[in-house]
C-alpha cells in the first residue's frame, strides 16, 4: 500500500463553545488546502468521521452537511465506528484512492460534544456498546474499569502504574499547543482524584471534547510529499465485553496490528513513534501489549519506567498527549492520530518532535474494542 499524505491539520481540542461544527470544519479544511497548495475544486470526495451528530445534534446526512458547508459538490459520506470513526474514515479514504476512482480526497474527523450535559454525552457514547451493557447503567468508564480490574487481578498491574500513563501524556501535551490540557499532572494528583467507576479515577479518563482534524490523501506519484500510509488495517470483535475471550486484551487490536505489520512489511521493533487509543489509562497499557511492543503483563511497568517517554524511550507513545491530555472529540481522534504521525515523520512536530522518526503507527479503537483500526506511516 502507498497512499501519500499531502497535508494534515487539527484545530485546538477542548471546550470550544464559540465554534460550531461548521466553523471547525472550515478552520481545519483551510489549513490542509493551504499546506497542500491545492485549490478546493481538486478534492474529489469527502470522508467524514463522526459518531454523535445524530444522537446529540439531531443531524444525520453528515456527508452532505459538510460538502455543502465546504462548498464542495462532490461525493461525501459519514463513516461511523464509534470512537474509531476517524480511523475508519482514513481507511475508506485510502481505499478510495487505491481503487483509482478518486485521485485526491479529504478526510474530515469532527465531533461536537461539549454543548451537552455530561450525563447525556455519557449516555450517547454508550451507543457504542451493547444493549445488555446499556441496560446495566454502565458508562465507558465502567466498562474499562471492569477491564482494568481484570488486568490488575491477572498481571498485578497497579493504580500507580495506570496513573503514570496520564502523567506521561499530560507531559507530552504540555508541548502541544492544540491539546485540551497543557498543564502537567503529578502522580499524586491522579491518585487523589475522585473515583468515576472503581478503580478508575477522573484523571484516568479522557475528557469530553470538541475538535476537528483533516488529511488530504492521494495515490498519485510525484506529489512532492514523502510521507505515505503503508498499512491500513481494521478488525472487529464482540460489541460487549462479556462475550470476549479475554477481558485483559482487545482481540481486534491484535488482529489489526498483525495485518498492518504484514501490509507494511515491518514489525513492532521498527516503530519509532506511535499514537494509541488511551481513552482510559488502562487502554494504553493494553494497547502496548496487543500491538506487540511489550509482553503481556509487562507494559504497565515499562511505561512506569519511562520506556515510551519523549527523549527517553522508544517507541515514543502519544506525543500529541493522546486522548487523555490532548482531548477526545470522538470522530476527530482517529484522524488526529494520523496527522500527528504525519507531522512527526515530516519533522514538523515542534517541541514534541521525535528525532529521526521514519516509521509511525496509529491505533484507534471503537467502543471497548469492537472495532480497531491500525495505520502504519512511512517516510520515503
Amino acid at each position: 500500500m502507498k497512499v501519500t499524505v499531502l497535508a494534515g491539520a487539527t484545530t485546538k481540542f477542548g471546550e470550544l463553545w464559540d465554534f460550531s461544527p461548521r466553523v471547525l470544519a472550515q478552520q481545519v479544511t483551510a489549513q490542509v488546502l493551504k499546506e497542500s497548495g491545492l485549490a478546493k475544486n481538486k478534492i474529489e470526495a469527502v470522508f467524514v468521521g463522526n459518531m454523535l451528530s445524530s444522537s446529540l445534534g439531531n443531524q444525520d446526512h453528515l456527508g452532505a452537511f459538510f460538502s455543502e458547508e465546504l462548498g464542495m459538490n462532490v461525493p461525501a459520506v459519514k463513516i461511523e465506528a464509534a470512537c474509531a470513526s476517524g480511523g475508519m474514515a482514513v481507511h475508506l479514504a485510502a481505499l478510495s484512492v487505491i481503487s483509482g476512482q478518486y485521485k485526491k480526497v479529504l478526510v474530515l474527523g469532527i465531533e461536537k460534544m461539549t454543548d451537552y450535559k455530561p450525563e447525556m454525552v455519557n449516555s450517547a457514547l454508550m451507543g457504542a456498546s451493547s444493549d445488555a451493557e446499556r441496560e446495566t447503567g454502565a458508562t465507558f468508564a465502567a466498562l474499562y474499569a471492569l477491564i482494568a480490574r481484570a488486568h490488575m487481578e491477572k498481571y498485578r498491574t497497579t493504580e500507580k502504574e495506570m496513573a503514570q500513563v496520564a502523567v506521561k501524556n499530560h507531559y507530552h501535551a504540555s508541548l502541544n499547543s492544540h491539546a485540551q490540557y497543557t498543564v502537567p499532572l503529578t502522580l499524586e494528583a491522579v491518585l487523589k482524584s475522585s473515583v468515576v467507576a472503581s478503580p478508575l479515577k477522573i484523571f484516568d479518563c479522557s475528557p469530553i471534547s470538541d475538535g476537528a482534524a483533516a488529511l488530504i490523501l492521494s495515490s498519485e506519484k510525484n506529489t512532492g510529499s514523502d510521507i505515505y500510509i503503508a498499512a491500513s488495517a481494521p478488525s472487529t470483535d464482540t460489541l460487549g465485553i462479556s462475550q470476549r475471550d479475554d477481558l485483559t486484551s482487545l482481540k481486534s487490536a491484535k488482529i489489526a496490528s498483525r495485518l498492518a505489520f504484514s501490509q507494511a512489511g515491518v514489525g513492532p521493533a521498527d516503530i519509532d513513534v506511535a499514537e494509541v487509543h488511551d481513552c482510559f489509562t488502562i487502554a494504553e497499557i493494553i494497547a502496548m501489549e496487543d500491538i506487540g511492543f511489550f509482553e503481556k503483563g509487562a507494559a504497565a511497568r515499562a511505561i512506569y519506567e519511562k520506556k515510551t517517554w519523549l527523549n527517553i524511550g522508544r517507541p515514543v507513545v502519544n506525543t500529541s498527549g493522546g486522548l487523555k491530555a490532548a482531548g477526545h472529540p470522538v470522530g476527530a481522534t482517529g484522524v488526529k492520530q494520523v496527522v500527528e504521525i504525519y507531522k512527526q515523520l515530516k519533522g514538523i512536530a515542534g517541541k514534541k518532535q521525535v528525532k529521526s522518526s521514519r516509521i509511525g503507527l496509529t491505533h484507534n479503537v471503537g467502543g471497548t474494542g469492537a472495532t480497531c483500526v491500525i495505520h502504519i506511516l512511512k517516510k520515503n
Partner: protein, 100 residues
C-alpha cells in the same frame, strides 16, 4: 428509545438466563452515571461467568462490601432495570445477587 415492542421482545431472552448460578470475574462501582440512572448512583456492575459457561454483565444487588470480590458466587435474579417510559411499560431484566 424505550419501546414497548422492544421490551416485549427482550423478555424472551430473560427466561433462559434466570435463576442461574455463577461467579464474579470483574466488578466496578459506578459513581458517575449516564442519563436515566442518576437516582441509582452509586451502583455496582459486574461480569459473571455462569456455571454453564455463559458470561453476562449485570448490576449486583442485595450485597455487602465483603461480597465485592472476584470469584464471589452469585445467582441471576429478575429485577426492574429502568423507570418506565411514557407508555408506562416497566422494563425487567437480569441482575446478580450473591448466594450465601
Amino acid at each position: 428509545m424505550l419501546s414497548p415492542v422492544k421490551i416485549w421482545r427482550n423478555q424472551n431472552k430473560i427466561k433462559s438466563i434466570l435463576n442461574k448460578k455463577g461467579e464474579i470475574i470483574s466488578y466496578t462501582r459506578i459513581h458517575v452515571p449516564p442519563a436515566g440512572f442518576e437516582s441509582q448512583a452509586p451502583y455496582v456492575v459486574a461480569v459473571a461467568q455462569l456455571d454453564d459457561g455463559k458470561r453476562i454483565i449485570a448490576q449486583l444487588v442485595d450485597f455487602n462490601e465483603s461480597d465485592l470480590m472476584i470469584g464471589r458466587k452469585i445467582i441471576t435474579v429478575l429485577r426492574r432495570t429502568k423507570d418506565p417510559g411514557l407508555e408506562g411499560i416497566i422494563p425487567y431484566g437480569i441482575k446478580f445477587k450473591p448466594v450465601t
